[in-house]
């Protein structure tokens, strides 16, 4: 395969992966906010969130392998794990590495959710709020089309989608704080004072 082809393929799969991961984040926020529609009950949203994340991971793997093979990218194996050591645009590249590391963490911890327990899994899943922005900024800063019109339009769309879903999520959080009936200020039975 020619070097050019590898480069195009690498960028293409990168953009696709970013788009799919944006969908994963949006779906994850919808799950968290308890959103559902007649056509899309909650368990479907939840299932699609999981399946899409695995598909996106697959695309991400192709993106990484392609660029490993591409001489222009100057990617070494260590750059897949340790961020900011890359030879080509180390900062933007490093963000990609960070995003990759976090995706692996997110997927693995979710596959092992039963073993980890609810609290640990939840704490680790917060990494998604770091992972997606890192991937987004990496795409803009590292890709050669980073600042082209269509790329910026796509990125804008991704940000809008996540922003919208985030609003739903925050609104749900506020509701669940107030959904609990307020406890009537108890008039303590008078003898409470007497017995201690």
């Amino acid at each position: 395969m020619s070097a050019d082809a590898l480069w195009y393929f690498g960028r293409g799969t990168g953009v696709s992966a970013l788009t799919l991961f944006t969908l994963v984040v949006v779906l994850g926020l919808l799950v968290r906010s308890g959103w559902s529609s007649p056509a899309l009950p909650r368990f479907v949203v939840s299932a699609v969130h999981r399946t899409t994340s695995l598909t996106a991971l697959g695309l991400l793997a192709v993106h990484v392998v392609t660029l490993l093979l591409d001489p222009y990218a100057q990617l070494r194996l260590v750059d897949l794990v340790v961020p900011f050591l890359g030879a080509y645009r180390p900062f933007w590249q490093g963000l990609g590495t960070l995003a990759l590391d976090l995706v692996v963490l997110l997927v693995l911890s979710s596959l092992l959710r039963d073993r980890l327990g609810r609290r640990t899994w939840r704490a680790l899943h917060w990494a998604a709020y770091l992972c997606w922005p890192a991937a987004l900024v990496h795409a803009v800063g590292n890709g050669t089309d980073g600042t082209s019109t269509w790329m910026l339009a796509l990125v804008g769309g991704c940000v809008a989608a996540v922003g919208g879903a985030l609003t739903l999520r925050l609104r749900a959080a506020r509701t669940s704080e107030t959904e609990t009936q307020s406890v009537p200020a108890p008039v303590p039975p008078a003898y409470l004072a007497g017995l201690r």
Partner: protein, 407 residues
């Protein structure tokens, strides 16, 4: 009528006094203690009244178990554990050692209010040279802090709130180990029956309710106090021992805030036993006997207790967190006179929504109290719906101090 004061008579300020009174810790081995507990038919004095022999045996079957003496006493109408820990700490500590020996544990905890730990229990521990080291853990005053899974959480350093079961704590408790959580009064009984035998223990009380038990009698009685009575004692006798009612009674709350009311007409005939109280949905429980004057409004009293219980939930479980305030609010509306006949049906409906739908028995106990309030004071409900209240005043009568100040 006066039962032998086996527990309250074991009061001892120092280890020397305690040893002079009762002798040293008996050398009976673990199997012997298990046998004695089983033969005595001792049941737990913390409220659930589970067979102590069976509980010890199931924990003994596990490897590396933990024992916890539970003196938290979150029940506001009860102060018997406080009295026992303050006056006979060594008896309780003996029981803790014997329980540890019985189940083969090398790890013991004593869970009790901080002031009791500081003034009585830790000084007592310092006097002793026990086989099994005891770690003290301060209990918060909350109602649920004495629930067995909450006890385990507190001992592990977390918030004293219940956890979902199964597994029960006798299977998996502190740090995943089988845990015996035993009320301090039960441990005190164990300390005595190991010395004097199961037959001696059964020498007082009835065959269904052997031994003695501690009661906290308060409310509309002349001398509210912690009392020791024989198992199966008549409710009327318990009230008489506390100086008798100060005025005609309307009802008596038995067991605790998760208990039930016994109407005044039945008081003369009812024994403080499982069989005697069962027709009223009550049980001896934690030994609470709270007398309500007829001049007080039973609905108001029930609403007060329900409001307290609603506020004391751990707020972990949706049905309880939402349902108990709803239940308390509905009962309050019935009690304070903005009632509609629909309210009674609403109480029943919400009761069914919260029952058994929580990690612990807090919603169930609250429902029991609420249902008993409506049943016992059904005449009062009719009055309130017609816009009247037959009582002269509202809340339960404040007793005088039932607890002498800790020196």
């Amino acid at each position: 009528m006066n039962a032998p004061q086996r527990l309250l008579g074991a009061a001892a300020a120092t280890l020397a006094d305690h040893s002079r009174l009762l002798g040293p810790l008996p050398g009976v081995d673990g199997a012997g203690i298990l046998r004695a507990a089983a033969e005595s038919s001792l049941t737990g004095r913390g409220g659930a009244a589970f067979s102590t022999g069976r509980k010890l045996a199931s924990v003994a079957a596990a490897s590396d178990p933990v024992v916890v003496g539970n003196g938290a006493e979150g029940e506001p109408a009860s102060s018997k554990d406080r009295r026992l820990l303050a006056t006979a700490p060594h008896l309780v500590l003996d029981g803790l050692q014997l329980a540890a020996r019985a189940v083969g544990s090398r790890t013991a905890y004593l869970y009790a209010p901080a002031d009791l730990l500081r003034t009585r229990l830790e000084p007592a521990l310092r006097e002793r040279r026990d086989d099994v080291p005891v770690t003290t853990v301060a209990s918060p005053g909350a109602f649920l802090s004495g629930e067995e899974s909450a006890v385990v959480q507190a001992v592990q350093g977390g918030r004293a709130v219940p956890t979902s079961t199964p597994p029960r704590v006798f299977e998996r408790g502190v740090h995943g180990r089988a845990t015996l959580v035993q009320n301090v009064e039960t441990l005190a009984h164990l300390a005595l029956l190991t010395r004097f035998g199961a037959a001696w223990f059964r020498g007082v009380g009835t065959s269904a309710e052997p031994g003695t038990r501690l009661l906290t009698v308060s409310g509309a009685v002349a001398a509210p106090d912690v009392l020791e009575v024989a198992g199966g004692t008549l409710l009327a006798d318990a009230l008489a021992l506390a100086g008798g009612p100060t005025e005609p009674l309307g009802a008596v709350l038995v067991g605790g805030y998760h208990g039930a009311w016994v109407p005044a007409e039945a008081v003369a005939d009812i024994a403080l036993s499982r069989d005697g109280l069962a027709p009223y949905g009550a049980a001896p429980g934690a030994g609470v006997v709270l007398a309500l004057a007829d001049s007080s409004c039973g609905l108001r009293a029930g609403a007060d207790v329900a409001a307290y219980l609603a506020g004391q939930g751990a707020r972990q479980c949706g049905p309880c967190r939402n349902g108990l305030p709803a239940l308390a609010g509905t009962l309050r509306a019935l009690a304070d006179g903005r009632p509609s006949p629909l309210l009674v049906a609403e109480v029943q409906r919400v009761s069914r929504l919260v029952e058994h739908r929580g990690a612990c028995h807090h919603p169930d106990g609250t429902v029991r109290l609420v249902r008993s309030t409506l049943r016992t004071f059904s005449a009062e409900v009719a009055h309130h719906l017609a816009g009247r209240c037959t009582a002269r005043h509202g809340a339960l009568v404040v007793p005088s101090e039932t607890e002498e100040a800790i020196a």
